[in-house]
Each structure stands twice: as C-alpha cells, then as structure tokens.
C-alpha cells in the first residue's frame, strides 16, 4: 500500500516544474508542454485521492480533464501556428504588439 503523501508530493513537484517552465521558457510550445505538466499534476492528485477515499469519482474527473486538455492543445496549437505565420517566431516575448 502506497501512502497518500507520496503521490501528493510527486504531484506538487510536477506542478512546480510546470509553473517554472511557464515562467522561465520563452518558446510558446514549451510553455504549452509545461501547462500539460500542470494538468497532469492535478490528475495525479485526483487519482491519489480517489485511491485514498476508495471512490471512483476522482478517476472520472481525470477522464474529463484529459478531454479538456486535448481540446485545449488542439486550439492552442492552432493559435501558435497562426502566430508563427504572422511573426515567423513562436517566442512569446516577440509577440508584444499589445505591450503598453
């Protein structure tokens, strides 16, 4: 039996890595990958608590999160492709037309 703290600590670490990736990297695609890491951290916490509570509902929520993540990736990558067509670059600090 795996104690609850292990997957929760792993989830926290994964979320932190995702946050750092979003903050540090400039490539929009890598930022998207970091967002995926954060979503997976949330999924891991869901699964861990579903195991602890002996309930199936957490796993169903993970299923929904995966669906929304797939939709988000499709739309987001389309936006990134459009950005690349406009700017010839996917670096987020070069897309600064609205900067005050």
């Amino acid at each position: 039996m795996i104690p609850l703290a292990w997957p929760l600590l792993l989830s926290a670490f994964l979320f932190t890595v995702g946050v750092i990736g979003v903050l540090v990297r400039r490539n929009a695609i890598v930022i998207f990958m970091s967002v995926e890491l954060m979503l997976n951290a949330a999924n891991l916490a869901f699964v861990a608590f579903a195991r602890q509570m002996n309930s199936i509902d957490g796993q169903v929520f993970v299923f929904f999160v995966m669906t929304v993540a797939a939709a988000e990736v499709a739309v987001g990558l389309a936006i990134i492709v459009n950005l690349f067509r406009l700017r010839e670059s996917v670096m987020v600090d070069e897309a600064n037309l609205l900067k005050g």
């Binding site: 795996i2 792993l10 699964v47 990558l77 389309a78």
Partner: protein
C-alpha cells in the same frame, strides 16, 4: 510489496524527465521527454489501481496529444543549436550499444519461453482493473457531463480548423473570376530574345501604354 518499489522507480523517471522537459533547449527533445514523463505517469496510475486511466494516459496523452505537438514543431521547422561531430559519434555509439542490449534481451526472453503476468485467464479477468467500474459511473451518474465533453471536442475541432486556416484561404471564399490576361502581340511575334525571362517585363508597359 512490489508496488512501492515500482512507484518509486516511475516517480524517479517522472521527476527527471519532467525536469528535462523545461531544461532542454531543443523543443523536439522537450516533447520526447514529455512522452517519457507521460508514460511514467501511466505506470504510476497502474500502481495506484487506476488501470483504465493508465491506458487512456498512454493512448490520449503519449499518443494523440504528443503527436500533435511534434507535428506542429516539425511543421514550424524551428532553428535549434547544431550538434558537433563528437556528440553525434558518441550518441550513435550509445545507440548501437543500447540496441544490441535490447536485442540480446529479446532473444534471451524468447529463447527461455518467458511470458508476462499470470497465465491463468480467469484470474487475469478478475484482476483486469477498473474499466467496468469507471464505465458504469461514467454512463450513469456523469452521463450529462460526458455528453457535454463531446460538445467541447466538437467546438475545439471547429475552432482549430477555423483558426489554423490561413487568411488567404479565408478571403478567397467567393471565387472571383480570373482576370483575362492580355497577352501583348509584341511578345508573341517578338524575335527570339537572348534573356527570355526579362522580355515580358520589358514589353508589358509598352503594350498597356
């Protein structure tokens, strides 16, 4: 128990590969490390007795989503740092060694008639995971959200197609008849020029004037 050991192993892979996702300079390498991270996460789901989610993690994340990522990265043809010759040589050597080890393992396994998991089928079905439980909950208590997710996917599909369409294609929806190109007779009956590419350009203003 073997589950904590497996959990620790997969957690180690997950930690290392997720760090490499954000630390590697090449986006393609980042995407491949993300695939490794997702596969390790699927293993963690298995140790936490979420077998259905482990399979879905492999199929949806490591399969569909990462293929989409890699497709976009390849489509953009991003510039990345060029490797030097020594690195390529070392990497090729390591690749051959790893491939040889894997081949030797496979030959060893096949020759010793090795099979994975319990061979007794009824036990395997009894321990086949929670797919049935997830399905029952998904189609009874969460039926309405489940149907809404299909709507979300439909909207995302239409949105992705509409956004990624180039502006040129959008503007040319009402197909305009092509302008009749007036071929000046001077170009037709002109004597054979020395540089053919420059002849229409030089003759066009004369014809219009």
């Amino acid at each position: 128990m073997i589950a904590p050991i497996l959990f620790a192993a997969f957690a180690g892979i997950l930690v290392v590969s997720s760090l490499l996702v954000i630390l590697h300079r090449n986006p393609v390498a980042s995407a491949l490390f993300l695939v490794a991270a997702f596969c390790a996460l699927a293993g963690i789901y298995l140790t936490l007795h979420a077998e259905f989610l482990g399979m879905v993690q492999i199929i949806v994340y490591a399969g569909a989503i990462m293929v989409l990522f890699l497709f976009v990265i390849m489509y953009m043809n991003l510039k990345h740092d060029i490797e030097t010759g020594v690195q390529i040589a070392v990497r090729r050597g390591l690749g051959w060694i790893a491939g040889g080890v894997m081949t030797a393992e496979a030959v060893l396994l096949v020759s010793r008639n090795w099979s994975v998991g319990p061979t007794a089928l009824p036990e395997a079905i009894a321990a086949s995971g929670n797919t049935q439980a997830v399905g029952q909950v998904l189609y009874s208590r969460y039926l309405f959200p489940f149907e809404i997710t299909s709507m979300v996917l439909l909207v995302a599909m239409v949105g992705a197609i509409l956004i990624s369409k180039s502006p040129r294609e959008m503007k040319s929806q009402p197909v305009a008849p092509p302008k009749p190109v007036a071929v000046p007779m001077a170009t037709v009956i002109a004597p054979a020029p020395i540089a053919p590419a420059t002849v229409p350009v030089t003759h066009a203003p004369e014809a219009s004037a």
